[in-house]
């Protein structure tokens, strides 16, 4: 062609003509849904404390209940609709983490239990685990060195 843009010019042009996500709307939705999920979590936490569990046990049981909730909604084909509406509001809480493990498990079931579910289950959560655990080890070493 005669008139050709440079890659840099093209990138700027594409940014201009591509519609942006509706940031304000998405932020409000994320804030509301994320907040509601946290309120549900708080409700369980308070309930477990009232039932006489100590703080640490109550937190663990709450996390387990929230994971169960996320996985159940994923299995019922509802969490993806929630995610489409809420974005980060339903990705960031622990229910979203549960969804990120349950959804590939469902997706790859057709490829078998070992090479399908087993191998692909951590497709999305894997990097979070690898770098989360690595970072906690580094933090642990620093903590140890500072203390000693």
């Amino acid at each position: 062609m005669q008139h050709v843009m440079t890659k840099e010019e093209y990138r700027k042009y594409v940014d201009k003509v591509s519609p942006n996500s509706k940031t304000l709307r998405n932020t409000l939705r994320a804030f509301m849904v994320g907040g509601i999920i946290c309120v549900i979590g708080q409700f369980f936490l308070n309930s477990f404390k009232n039932m006489g569990l100590d703080k640490e046990t109550a937190s663990s049981v709450t996390a387990m209940v929230m994971i169960l909730l996320g996985v159940t909604l994923t299995a019922l084909n509802l969490y993806d609709d929630l995610g489409r509406f809420a974005g980060a509001g339903s990705i960031v809480p622990i229910t979203g983490f549960a969804n990120s493990i349950a959804s590939p498990a469902i997706e790859y079931k057709s490829e078998g239990y070992v090479l399908g579910i087993g191998a692909r289950m951590f497709l999305i959560a894997g990097p979070v685990l690898v770098y989360g655990i690595s970072a906690s080890i580094v933090a642990g070493i620093i903590h140890y060195l500072l203390r000693s």
Binding site: M1, Q2, H3, M5, K7, Y10, R11, Y13, V14, V17, S18, P19, N20, S21, N26, T74, N77, Y79, D80, D81, L82, G83, R84, A86, G87, S90, I91, G96, N99, S100, A102, S103, P104, I106, E107, Y108, S110, E111, L123, I124
Partner: protein, 278 residues
């Protein structure tokens, strides 16, 4: 030696191959779109009774081949070649789909351009005297494509406004040395044009420069006036990609405006399915 080549990348057929039959089967979303009346069949179940999306996609291809051969009223062994491709690893939808047909097979991979690529190669085989009947097929499946290239369907993520929606369906044509047309008269083969777009959710912007380059080359090579065609159709550039293509052509003096169209835009009812945004 190159008696059929005109210009840099265009070929003029000597005995133009005819398109003697077409067939298409689509999924539920496509079957409710504006083109619904033109499909041979639309299937409501994305699995189509199979155990996986890949098997379903393969079935789409198998059924389309059976349909297109029936519509051309020819036996399967009258086909000299099948040229087919899809989006899956090792083109499994195509290879498993046509497995029982017993026809020599070329598997190709061109993503949105697969059917165009198949028809180009088929036309060349026929005009070159290597074949009299060639079936050209393609398929894609929203679910298997998302699985292969993006995220699991049940993952709660948001699609940006520039994301495409992959068609669930399969289409096929039979090209023949004899027939009443429509004919394939000229072929312009495109080049890889990489303008550095890395966003997998903005494929239109990644593909549009190559489409513009090919259309520009076609008019350069053939010397045809820019208003020669009733319609210029691209595979799946989507709304953003089509706009970019129009801009790129205009800046090179080719103003095609209303005759430019895009299959990805034509196939969906965008008011009904705001999420497709092709």
């Amino acid at each position: 030696m190159f008696e059929k080549k005109t210009g840099r990348q265009t070929f003029q057929m000597k005995n133009s191959p005819a398109i003697i039959a077409t067939a298409s089967i689509v999924g539920p979303k496509e079957g409710r779109g504006p083109l619904a009346g033109y499909f041979d069949q639309s299937v409501d179940d994305e699995f189509w009774g199979e155990k996986s999306w890949e098997k379903a996609e393969s079935k789409f291809m198998r059924e389309v081949l059976a349909k297109v051969v029936t519509k051309a009223s020819m036996p399967m062994d009258a086909l000299d070649f099948v040229i087919a491709g899809d989006l899956l690893n090792q083109c499994i939808a195509a290879s498993f789909g046509i497995r029982e047909s017993n026809v020599p097979f070329y598997g190709i991979y061109g993503a949105c351009s697969t059917i165009g690529e198949a028809m180009q190669l088929g036309a060349m085989l026929i005009d070159g005297g290597f074949a009299s009947n060639v079936a050209c097929l393609t398929s894609s499946h929203f679910c298997s494509a998302e699985k292969q290239f993006r995220f699991p369907l049940e993952l709660g993520s948001q699609r940006p406004p520039t994301a495409h929606w992959t068609v669930t369906g399969s289409g096929g044509v039979i090209l023949s040395a004899e027939g009443d047309g429509p004919y394939i008269t000229r072929i312009t083969t495109g080049k890889i044009v990489d303008m550095g777009i890395k966003d997998q959710n903005n494929m239109g912007a990644a593909m549009a420069p190559a489409a513009a380059d090919t259309i520009y080359a076609h008019f350069e090579d053939t010397g045809l006036p820019h208003d020669y065609y009733d319609m210029i159709v691209t595979g799946d550039l989507g709304v953003v990609g089509k706009r970019i293509l129009d801009d790129l052509l205009s800046s090179n003096g080719i103003r095609v405006g209303s005759i430019l169209n895009d299959c990805g835009i034509m196939i969906y009812d965008m008011k009904q399915y705001n999420d497709t945004r092709n």
